[in-house]
Amino acid sequence: MSKRRIIPGFGLSMGFTITYLSLIILLPLAALFLNAAGVGWAEWRSILGSPRIIAAARLTFGLSAVAAAVSVVLGLLVTWVLVRYHFPGKKLLDSMVDLPFALPTAVAGITLTAIYGKTGWIGCHIASAAAWIKTTWQPTGWLGDQVNSWADFGAAYSPLGIFIALTFIGFPFVVRTLQPVMEDLGHEIEEAAATLGAGRWTVFLRVILPLLTPALITGFTLAFARAIGEYGSVIFISGNLPMKTEILPLLIISQLEQFNFKAAAVIASGMLVVSFLLLFIINLLQRRLDWQNR
């Protein structure tokens, strides 16, 4: 008798939800992991150990982290302005923040390339600035390579371009996780700090920022996780030069095009494990956050 549900529809919704979830999500993912598991340990190591994959993984994870970190800073600034200040056009800006969510990635990709490429509105300035740096300081090594590339192509076909694309898709995550938290802060706690003699900057650093930290971490993780898997907005601007601007998702596709299914499955599984770990961390964080706010 205790198994009875008050609101009808348990069996139906449970049956449909589980069936659909299994067919659309779980079964295909299982197929991928089983394929990857069928590959021997030695082969796993040789696939994941190849220099091209290591370079792509470094690029993908490294730039994703940098882009997520920059997203946090930009997101904090934008959220602060949107929540705290009143100015004309604020509503429009607020709704536009979601543009990177709504704009198809392919469109974002070709558009960012058009703007930040050498002939683009901003790319031309990047190119001329890089050319100036090149002649004035003549940097060498990695930085020299980058400056050369910037001077030739603007931000396109270089890690800088990938970074721009990943920041574009990442910063709305930060804004949208931060915004409700900042709106709920209220003025009381700041007023309390102010009556205790704290200056504005101190209040921000010692009172507001710690309260925002959990949301900032969540925003960072979401932006990071999204960036790792991002494809459409990156491949146009990146130029896909092996060892230089090739990202992991693109590598999966090139393995597929060579009918190298095993390698594709192995790389994909590796990426998924990392992404799931990140999701798991977010969940833990959120649970802790809930616990703190109780």
Binding site: M1, S2, R4, I6
Partner: protein, 328 residues
């Protein structure tokens, strides 16, 4: 219609919400389930309504002798008023009240004009004529409460169940609505069970009060019985202010503030009295409250009528003799 509750238990995971609770609610009575939060009173009410089901076992719920334990909530014929009313936000007042009738199977469903008449009748009954087109968010708390009541009554329930009916209202509205509900109950005579954590509310409103604590029923009786002859220290303390004494052997005894007399220290009688000094005096209202300190340092609260206090002419710092069968 009477309600009989037989040996009902309910656990949520490892938490025991009810332990073998049995209770009779006589036909036509207005019964209060009174207890602190977590005592199981709301769970019991929801089990009676069929919104929650008791653990497997011998427990059962009878309506007028008929076992309804296996009957789903929608078929039990209970009118349930939720703590936060649970009005359908997107419907007008009239649509809310008529909902239960409009979802009856086609063969039993009244015609739209009959539903309209019934809704109107109920609006008059709860004194909300003319508000039928409003939506819940356009009503005050007390009005919402009465719409919820009318909605529950529309299906002509056999019993009426109310979960903290006045919990979400402010003090004044609460008092008015309480009195109104009492009169209303006398008029319609429907067996009514309500949950409250406010002892004053339970004592003032109910014919029968059920005091609950830690998943069990502590005492059942008329308000008078419960107040005057509590069965346990818990009931004593839960129903109003009380002074608690512990004698040297550890036994506890209780005495209510209004059961203590105050006389001048000169009239001290060592067989019945104890000497005390007035620490605090509060007299804004019909009843004056004194806080006195006994020679052993213990504080005792005393309630006197204003007249008594004025006749004695006491002020803070005076020594008085307090008289009652106080433990020495």
């Amino acid at each position: 219609m009477s309600i009989s509750i037989h040996s009902i238990s309910k656990t949520f995971g490892s938490y025991k919400a009810l332990e073998e609770v049995s209770l009779e609610v006589p036909n036509g009575s207005l019964t209060a389930l009174l207890g602190p939060s977590g005592s199981g009173k709301t769970t019991l009410l929801r089990i009676v309504a069929g919104l929650e089901f008791a653990d497997d076992g011998p427990g059962k719920i009878l309506f007028h002798g008929e076992n309804v334990s296996g009957v789903p909530a929608g078929k039990r014929g209970v009118g349930f008023v939720f703590q936060h009313y649970a009005l359908f936000r997107h419907m007008t007042v009239a649509q809310n009240i008529g909902f239960g009738l409009s979802v009856l199977p086609r063969s039993k469903r009244p015609s739209p004009s009959d539903i309209r008449d019934r809704v109107h009748e109920l609006l008059c009954l709860v004194k909300l004529e003319g508000l039928d087109k409003r939506r819940p968010h356009e009503l005050s708390g007390g009005q919402r409460q009465r719409v919820a009541l009318a909605r529950a009554l529309a299906i002509r329930p056999k019993v009426l169940l109310l979960d903290e009916p006045f919990g979400a209202l402010d003090a004044r509205v609460r008092k008015d609505l309480r009195r109104w509900l009492r009169v209303f109950h006398n008029e319609i005579g429907l067996t009514t069970l309500f949950v409250t954590h406010d002892q004053e509310e339970a004592l003032e409103l109910a014919d029968q009060v059920v005091v609950m604590r830690n998943a069990r029923i502590e005492q059942v009786g008329s308000p008078q019985e419960i107040y005057d002859r509590p069965h346990s220290p818990f009931v004593y303390e839960f129903l109003g202010n009380v002074n608690k004494f512990t004698d040297p052997s550890g036994n506890q005894s209780y005495i209510r503030p209004h059961e203590i007399d105050v006389v001048f220290a000169a009239e001290y009688d060592p067989t019945t009295d104890r000497l005390a000094r007035i620490q605090h005096l509060f007299s804004a209202g019909p009843v004056a409250t004194l806080s006195v300190r006994l020679d052993d340092g213990k504080f005792v609260d005393i309630e006197l009528s204003r007249k008594q206090l004025d006749d004695l002419g006491l002020s803070v710092g005076d020594e008085v003799s307090i008289r009652s069968n106080l433990p020495q």
